[in-house]
């Protein structure tokens, strides 16, 4: 069952988006401002306190803005909005590794003393905590803590291929969890 607040928010957003699409830029500004906070909270729950959270929020809103013409004003706003945010978040996580392993970001100190636990910085209530521990560990090591596949595989004690498979399956499971969440 949908939460009453979520229902009323969804309805308000739907009306706001309808007016925005008719050219009301003040309304659109207010809507984007509100959604900025909503997307931020949603992604924080999903990714924990990632240093790239702000980038991801802006990327999600930019995608939403670029594709706003696809929103059908007769239909609920939330499924459309959450599907785009979820899609971008997963996309962002896939690309995130290259950013987290950028040579400029890697000081020798952080390399020599990596974060002690893979779950560092994650709230127990995040969606990641619902993943199979094997997949969660692979995602946290490579996507959040910035290890290369080879480094993460050595830490976990599996081959690089096995680790890549775990990351891939973990992201797929995460996508399913997000879909279920969006359906609520």
């Amino acid at each position: 069952m949908t939460h009453p607040t979520a229902d009323s928010d969804g309805l308000r957003w739907q009306q706001s988006m309808t007016r925005s699409l008719l050219g009301d830029s003040v309304e659109y500004h207010a809507l984007l401002d509100e959604l900025y906070g909503v997307v931020g909270a949603y992604l924080r729950r999903m990714l924990g306190d990632s240093p790239f959270l702000e980038d991801c929020v802006q990327e999600c809103l930019e995608t939403l803005h670029r594709n706003r013409h696809t929103y059908d004003v007769r239909r609920p706003f939330r499924p459309w909005f959450l599907t785009l945010v979820r899609h971008k978040a997963i996309d962002f996580m896939r690309r995130d590794r290259s950013r987290t392993t950028s040579p400029l970001d890697e000081s020798p100190a952080t390399k020599a003393h990596p974060t002690p636990t893979p779950e560092h910085g994650l709230d127990a209530a995040t969606l990641l905590s619902q993943l199979d521990p094997m997949y969660r560990e692979a995602i946290v090591l490579t996507k959040l803590n910035g290890y290369t596949t080879a480094e993460a595989a050595a830490l976990v004690g599996v081959t690089g291929t096995a680790l890549r498979t775990r990351v891939h399956r973990g992201l797929r499971e995460l996508s399913h969890l997000l879909e279920q969440e969006a359906a609520l």
Partner: protein, 211 residues
Amino acid sequence: MNRKQFIDQLAAEPSPAKRLSTGVAIALWLAASCTFVVGATLATGDLRPGVGEQLRDFPRFAMECALGLVAGIVVFRTGLLLSVPGRLRWRRAVPLALALITIWIGAYIYGLWSPALEPSMVGKRPNCFGETFLFSSFPLALGLLLVARRAPLQRAWVGALVGAASTSLPALMMQLACMYDPRHILQFHLLPVLIVGLVGGAIGSLVLRRV
């Protein structure tokens, strides 16, 4: 860029052009594609002699044709709706669309043992296989253009659905213009539906923009 600057910048852009509704897009695709396919088929040969009577007198044959048309429209509609974020659940919509195509093909597989019409070489077109591919090019291009105006998240699946739907129209037309024999139909008219479906998936993932 900070939050305020970012939102100011987005909100300052003018409103986007309105998109075509799904109903209008389907009607446009169907009307233009049917015009092209029928025109191209008639330009390259005649309909099978007696096909009108066959449609009237053999309900199962008429049903096979109707099933093909419905499958094509439903599959295209699924591809179109999948191009709107959050509009359809992929796991429900795609199997349903594929099931319709399967039932359509299944009707001809059943026809191998019990054909709807007496198999005959009457009306055989020498190049029906190639023509089915060729005549699907316009519906495929138009279909991809229509979904590209939306925001397809599963680009390969959307391309595959548009590809299969696009080939179902010339395949259906060949049922009226070429010889009737379930084995021939499966091999030369319906196999292209599957092949263009696969090709459409590859094209979709390559040419449709990443959301």
